[in-house]
Symmetry: C2
Subunit: 203 residues, 2 copies
DNA sequence: AGTACAATGAAACGAACGTTTGAATCATCC
DNA sequence: GGATGATTCAAACGTTCGTTTCATTGTACT
């Protein structure tokens, strides 16, 4: 029979969706694969068949949402550097922040990102290094070129603050709107973050 | 022999200290009682003898640090209301925030508070209700009296924002200094939070 | 039809978990 | 100094975990 089952509802997707939901709700350690596969409506062994391990599943959950963001970051940084003129700090920061602010919208990945620092530290560190390491170093290098007065170690340190602020913004306790002004649109959030963090980078 | 072992190093304290450290580092679910009692240098069964269960140990860890803060809050609110005149919003918020900002300093409780929302949701909700519920309702009532234009439901909603902002401030990712100005003293932090949140309450 | 391979299913594996038990030790008071 | 209660200890309890195994089903190609 040529009747292909409707795409997007395969076993792998169902596992990823359930993992995203449950890891976000209860955390990685507190979520059992039995509860996860039960919610997904798949067999317990399917997790190891398709992903290899529970930790590899977490990596896949992160990758599915983070990889498109990082791809867009690379495109934007490439475009900036193709201009021939060295890009300014604001432009670099916007290239880094805008994809995360605007593309991360609807999925259940944000509580996971917010809780990443609570989970088994070594595993998460390795995952983030693999998905983020080279990209981060490219942005640090670009910022260092735009900030000739700062050592590249100092630029790296300050860039970690940028990452921390971004993670809090996109993953933080935002369901209750947050501190200041009303929720505010993505564009406004981005604009304020860029101005704020650019000043910090220059300080 | 009358030589009493130096106080403060009893079995219960050692368990609480180890739990505070490990729950903060790895989270509640990912910390085993065997690792915990190993670090504390006590027998595995001592946890259940002194506390009853792993969850009750978490409650005790929270209580040891949170109870003094809440006691100070009650004292300050009592003092405000004893003046006969209705206290203003800033005074109420300061009575609520100052003990948390100034008294929570050195212990390892802050990463735990920051991660509370990541842990088994039902357990944490029960613990917070018991330690925080009545106190929170007293502050909501005081704020509602100071804000006659708002329904008490609205005051309660906004007060949750105050709690969220406070938790983030005292428990957030502060080891890397944070966003804006340099770390800033407790007094400055308090002053800015009170002004900020009072405006939000009035909005 | 029949072979080859991808995917699913039910069942079990050893390990680690929180918890309980009961005996051994320690302190305390008569 | 012997009895009493509090505390510690080693060992085991049953359960649940992530993972593995192997038989079974589904799918595609010649």
């Amino acid at each position: 029979m040529a009747a292909a089952p409707s795409p997007g509802t395969g076993t792998k997707e169902r596992i990823l969706d359930a993992a995203e939901a449950l890891f976000g709700e209860s955390g990685f350690a507190a979520t059992s694969l039995r509860a996860l596969t039960g919610q997904a409506g798949v067999n317990l062994a399917a997790v190891h068949y398709h992903f290899g391990s529970k930790e590899a599943l977490l990596a896949a959950v992160l990758e599915r949402r983070v990889a498109p963001v990082n791809r867009e970051r690379v495109l934007r940084l490439d475009a900036l550097e193709a201009h021939g003129r060295e890009p300014g700090i604001e432009a670099i920061l916007e290239a880094f922040l805008a994809p995360a602010i605007t593309m991360d919208g609807k999925s259940g990945i944000r509580p996971i990102l917010a809780r990443l620092h609570s989970e088994p530290i070594e595993l998460v560190r390795v995952i983030l290094e693999r998905q983020f390491g080279e990209l981060g170093r490219r942005f640090v290098a670009a910022l260092a070129r735009a900030l000739p007065g700062l050592s590249s170690a100092e630029v790296g340190e300050r860039f970690e603050l940028v990452v921390g602020a971004m993670l809090y913004m996109i993953g933080g306790s935002r369901e209750t709107s947050v501190l200041g002004t009303p929720p505010s649109s993505d564009g406004e959030t981005l604009e304020r973050m860029v101005a704020f963090l650019a000043a910090g980078m220059r300080a």
